[in-house]
């Protein structure tokens, strides 16, 4: 695997202005929700990076900024050697060709009045493919890669005639028909039944193999991340708290939040005695964030020193970085 970065995110920020009514409009002090607050990370060519965290951690916003569905407030994104600064005009069409996204709800991402052929052909037409035979061939090929076989059987169908899993495959076929370099998949299996989830996960794995795709897989489900991804980044209230190889992080978490998260995942084995780490389950208000470490108020290990912490990532084990002032030994005490 090529280890050159495809995407470098530098000091990315996304703040939303809070406007709760007349009082806020006239108030001098502006309030912000800091959905993403100064994160930096690298996505290597050909890897699948998992992005995990609770709702409100900023994982979906990060994915949406990477495909430019949202503009960042600050920071740089370097995509395949090109620098995209916040608020700078981008060559949108060219960029969109290389970066695609798959969404959570396969029932809402497809236009009900487009048949499957038109759904998948649309991106080709937008990007200037005119030859009819060429369009047809590429649609069929995309459907076959998405394992909707026989492809001819599906092209005249409409979304309502398909099951959830089949729709998600259509969404994937549409995502790959332009042969992008980078794919963001935001919870692509969470709406699907367990019996077919594995198919979609295996399909995403195969896409990497067949097309050399680089992927960001956004999910709250650590088991599917463990199955699919090479590396994992855990987010908490707009910050990355831990990042590393998926096996290292899941088998040997370094950050207290990662430890809590992993200890909360139910396990389908009645003999396995899971020891949950119990913490306060209310996430702090996103406008009035705690001082220092954002996880501090809920952290079972927190001390006074945590209030001055600036979320630096420390390399605690090889290639495994944790944003906690304490290392494993210190936490054990």
């Amino acid at each position: 695997m090529d280890t050159m970065p495809l995407i470098q995110i530098e000091n990315l920020k996304k703040y939303y202005l809070v406007n709760n009514g007349i009082k806020d409009i006239f108030s001098k002090e502006k309030k912000y929700v800091k959905a993403i607050d100064d994160i930096s990370l690298i996505i290597k060519k050909g890897e699948i990076l998992g992005l995990a965290g609770e709702s409100g951690s900023g994982k979906t916003t990060t994915g949406e900024i990477l495909v430019r569905l949202q503009e960042p407030s600050d920071g740089n994104i370097i995509f395949d050697g090109h620098v995209f600064k916040a608020n700078s005009k981008i060559e949108e069409k060219k960029f969109r060709k290389e970066v695609q996204m798959i969404f959570q709800d396969p029932y809402e991402t497809l236009n009900p009045r487009f048949n499957i052929f038109d759904t998948i052909a649309e991106p080709l037409k937008i990007h200037g493919v005119k030859n009819r035979q060429d369009i047809y061939d590429r649609v069929i090929k995309a459907l076959e890669i998405a394992e909707l076989k026989p492809a001819e059987h599906y092209i005249t169908r409409y979304p309502h005639e398909l099951s959830g899993g089949q729709r998600q495959r259509v969404a994937i076929a549409r995502g790959i028909v332009l042969e992008p370099k980078f794919l963001v998949a935001d919870e692509p299996v969470s709406m699907l039944d367990v019996s077919i989830r594995a198919d979609i996960l295996n399909l995403l794995k195969n896409l990497r193999k067949k097309m050399g795709l680089t992927m960001l897989y956004v999910s709250h489900d650590l088991s599917t991340i463990k199955y699919l991804c090479d590396r994992i980044a855990i987010m908490y209230l707009g910050k990355i708290v831990e990042i590393g190889n998926v096996k290292d992080v899941i088998d040997n978490p370094q950050h207290p939040y990662t430890k809590v998260l992993l200890s909360s995942v139910p396990v389908a084995d009645p003999d396995y005695k899971r020891q949950s780490i119990i913490i306060e389950d209310e996430v702090p208000d996103q406008i009035h964030l705690p001082e220092g470490c954002r996880f501090g108020p809920r952290c079972p290990y927190s001390t006074e020193d945590c209030k001055n912490f600036d979320h630096t990532l420390f390399e605690r084990r090889t290639d495994q970085w944790s944003a906690c002032i304490y290392n494993e030994e210190e936490l054990r005490k």
Binding site: H153, V194, I196, D199, L222, L261, L262, P266
Partner: protein, 347 residues
Amino acid sequence: MLLLEVKNLDIDYKTQEGTLKAISDVSFTLRQGESVGFVGESGCGKTTLAKSIMKLLPKNGSISKGEIIFKGEDLVKKSKEEIRRIRHLKIAMVSQSAMNSLNPVYTVGDQIIEGILAHTNMSKKEAAKRAEEVFSIIGLEGKRLKSYPHQMSGGMKQRAIIAMALSLNPDLIIADEPTTALDVVVQDRILREILSIQKQMNSSMIFITHDISVVSEICDTIIVMYGGKIMEKASTKIFFKKPLHPYSLGLKNAFPSILDIGEELISIPGTPPNLMKNLSGCRFVERCPFRTTLCQSEMPVLREAGEDHLVACHYIDKHEAFTEAAELRETWEAVRSRIIQEKEEGA
């Protein structure tokens, strides 16, 4: 003691395209204090079953056959007024989006008290005291009773709903995906709380979910449903060691676990059956790798396959060979090719 006995239940939905048989010939029992988890994919009938016990089926749905015997009385025959008295007082339900059903213009406390007053002779003061009690059981501060729904997080609202369901010590709690919309840390705590309360009060529980790991952790018994029928019923301890039905074997392959060490996930090819059609054979026949002509013509009945273990498959005696074969990808890929071939022939 048996608290609930469902016998040969059939439930139909009338739709414009015809009658949909959502539940056919479902029977099971529930002991006092037992918790049973219903699992299965969307459309398998698990939610319909739960709603039918509460008699909360939508207008186009009806129980066409069977009995639901709760504490010796058949709920199917009860009038609306009689059912209303049983609901909440003896059987309480928590649904997935229950937290959105709180009234935004009343405090959460008022809504809980209202429920208690509607079903008991308690004074308002006693009801308020009871509301505070259940709040502390579920891990919410008493002052939260004065909060309006918008002042609470999703986890808190779901807790308040659970507190409401528990406020009258029901004999039976029906929980339909009660934590699906919540984050894993919150889910874990709420499940723990539900479990400890259920044990403390010795209530019975019907727990509906698509997540078999949750059932493994909190239920005594698991019932696997498919296409409106029960495919397998077993104690969770036995089931997770030795599932027998081919569908259960497939589910086990498809389910990722945080403890996995690189095993390949294999899904079950195909889609659930169309319940509008008149199905005579086994409901799982289209997706089953081990089917025979018998399976296509005759629905197997649920029968004993060991202690505390019922399975609806014609070939229980072959389960060892099935278990071995089900672990192989080829077994299921053959089903996929078969389905594609059938489609091509049909087209």
